[in-house]
């Protein structure tokens, strides 16, 4: 009826309006791009003129003098590339990179453990009137305020380096604990006890020996929270066991002290296979 006819007309009008708007926007875009092309052409001509002038000057002067006095564009470019490569290498090695923002700098700290890349954390810093943290994605159990209090105002490089140490160590410990749970759950008895910082791990695990399995318990404490290896390890057999197992416990303790947790587990499952 009339109503549906009106609706149809309205839809048509809306559609027509939309198409017109689209067309207008595209034309505006085209015009602005043409303008930009013109600007770039003018710039190119200017630079070309400069280069030509430079060439004329160089060919007119004495060769030796000119080489010493004016570094050629090629040499400058090479120097720039080298220093850029150096900076990128630095970022790659330290895992810290920064980007200037409107109000300051945004740093990103990447973490890794033994060739596995892990999470990245960000810090948005304001630089005026004093350097301070605007926003960040650092977990709440990392002592960020403490580290900032000590170093942020005086030595920003040190601040970043100390924070990076904390984050990398935490990421490394967490990675080891996660790997243990993921790949060696059949050797673990019950839960792996851990905490947010992963600086205390306690677990029970089974050690096969002479056809039987014995229950062992391990407790790893990481007093140095910038370290990813434990500072204290206690391994013991939870039942009265033959003496050779005490040696095994001591050996395991040493392994845990010096080797990544999941790698340690790898080695004793493979040595057990060899013995059997």
């Amino acid at each position: 009826g009339v109503f549906s006819h009106l609706e149809m007309l309205e839809a048509q009008a809306h559609e027509a309006g939309r198409k017109e708007e689209e067309k207008k926007q595209q034309e505006e875009k085209l015009a602005s791009l043409k303008e930009r092309v013109e600007e770039l052409r003018i710039q190119r001509d200017k630079l070309q003129a400069k280069v030509d002038l430079q060439k004329k000057r160089l060919s007119g002067k004495e060769r030796i003098v000119s080489d010493a006095a004016e570094p050629s564009a090629g040499a400058v470019l090479e120097w720039k590339i080298r220093s850029l490569k150096g900076m990128l290498q630095l970022f790659y090695l330290t895992g810290i990179s920064g980007k200037l923002t409107k109000q300051g700098v945004c740093f990103s700290i990447s973490t890794a453990y033994e060739s596995t890349y892990l999470d990245s954390y960000y810090l948005d810093l304001l630089t005026k009137p004093v350097v301070r943290i605007h926003r960040h994605s650092v977990p709440v159990f990392i002592p960020l305020e403490q580290i900032a209090r000590r170093y942020l105002q005086t030595d920003i490089r040190r601040f970043l380096s100390v924070l990076s140490d904390h984050l990398n160590a935490y990421a490394g410990r967490k990675y080891q604990a996660d790997q243990l749970q993921e790949h060696f759950s059949d050797q673990l008895e019950g839960r792996l006890q851990r905490n947010s910082l992963c600086n205390l791990l306690a677990f029970n695990y089974k050690v096969p020996s002479g056809g039987k399995t014995f229950p062992f318990s391990a407790r790893l404490i990481y007093k140095d929270i910038c370290g990813s290896l434990p500072t204290e390890v206690m391994v013991s057999c939870t039942v009265k066991a033959p003496e050779r197992l005490e040696e095994t416990a001591a050996a395991h303790s040493e392994l845990f002290r010096h080797m990544a947790l999941h790698k340690a587990f790898c080695t004793f499952s493979s040595t057990e296979e060899k013995l059997d």
């Binding site: 309006g17 939309r18 689209e22 709440v140 159990f141």
Partner: protein, 268 residues
């Protein structure tokens, strides 16, 4: 098995939606798989709960085990409770070696030394969350299992999530036990309350995805490809305001799911 325990288990099972009962009992792990097989979960809940109670009797359940079932239920349906956030302060700057066993011992000891009639249970979850359930009694009466307090604590953080129980008089004691166990010296309530525990955690732990500028920005998901061609004849009055709100929200909370806002209170 105690009548109180039996009744408590029966009522707890009745709260669980019928299609979740089996999986929750499996999580509980108190009844064996063989026992669970004997229950007909398709009958009316009244009968299901009676059967569960009967099996618990066979295994001689006590109140501690019944309390664990309650924790599991509340962990899954945490949104049914109202949660408040408390912040703790500490003086020392030494990084803490948080030991769960020590924490539990200290907490229990502090509470039990003040009040004998309490039931205390702990349960740890994969995200390092420690759930604590406390049922309160008085020097003369046994603990009331139907009005327990719940505490959720993530180790080595200054935040504690407490489900406000009706018995406010027990709150100071609960706070004290938390301070002693976690090695902090002061605690105060924050202006943050919600039914959604996860939203509260998102806010205090900053778990929402924030947008940071970096040299290798991760691909920001394209917002529904097509640019909107709007008829210019329709003008949105508060368009600039809307855009500003969207931009600020996006800057702070990122593109991911936003924390749920239940109510906002302004203090002048």
């Amino acid at each position: 098995m105690d009548e109180i325990v039996a009744e408590y288990i029966r009522r707890t099972v009745l709260k669980i939606p019928r299609n979740e009962i089996k999986s929750m009992l499996q999580k509980w792990g108190f009844l064996s798989e063989a026992q669970l097989q004997t229950i007909n979960f398709h009958q009316i809940k009244d009968n299901v709960s009676q059967e569960v109670v009967r099996l618990c009797e066979e295994n001689s359940a006590d109140i501690k085990q019944a309390a664990v079932l309650d924790i599991i239920y509340n962990h899954m349906y945490a949104n049914k409770r109202m949660w408040s956030v408390y912040q703790m302060e500490k003086t020392g700057e030494e990084p803490e070696i948080f030991d769960l066993q020590t924490f539990k011992k200290k907490f229990k000891r502090r509470l039990l030394s003040a009040l004998e009639n309490v039931t205390i249970n702990f349960r740890e979850y994969e995200d390092n969350a420690i759930w604590i359930r406390v049922a309160w009694g008085t020097p003369y009466t046994k603990p009331n299992q139907y009005k327990p307090s719940y505490v959720v604590y993530h180790s080595q953080t200054p935040y504690v999530f407490i489900s406000t129980s009706v018995l406010k008089s027990n709150l100071p004691l609960l706070c004290q036990a938390l301070l002693v166990a976690s090695n902090y010296h002061d605690i105060r309530e924050m202006e943050l309350r919600s039914h959604s525990l996860n939203s509260l955690k998102d806010i205090v732990f900053k778990r929402y995805s924030q947008n940071f500028q970096s040299h290798c920005p991760r691909a920001i998901q394209e917002r529904s490809g097509e640019p909107e061609y709007v008829d210019v004849r329709i003008v949105q009055e508060n368009r600039s305001e809307k855009e500003r709100i969207q931009r600020v929200t996006r800057e702070v909370f990122g593109d991911g799911p936003q924390p749920q806002l239940e109510f906002a209170q302004y203090k002048v």
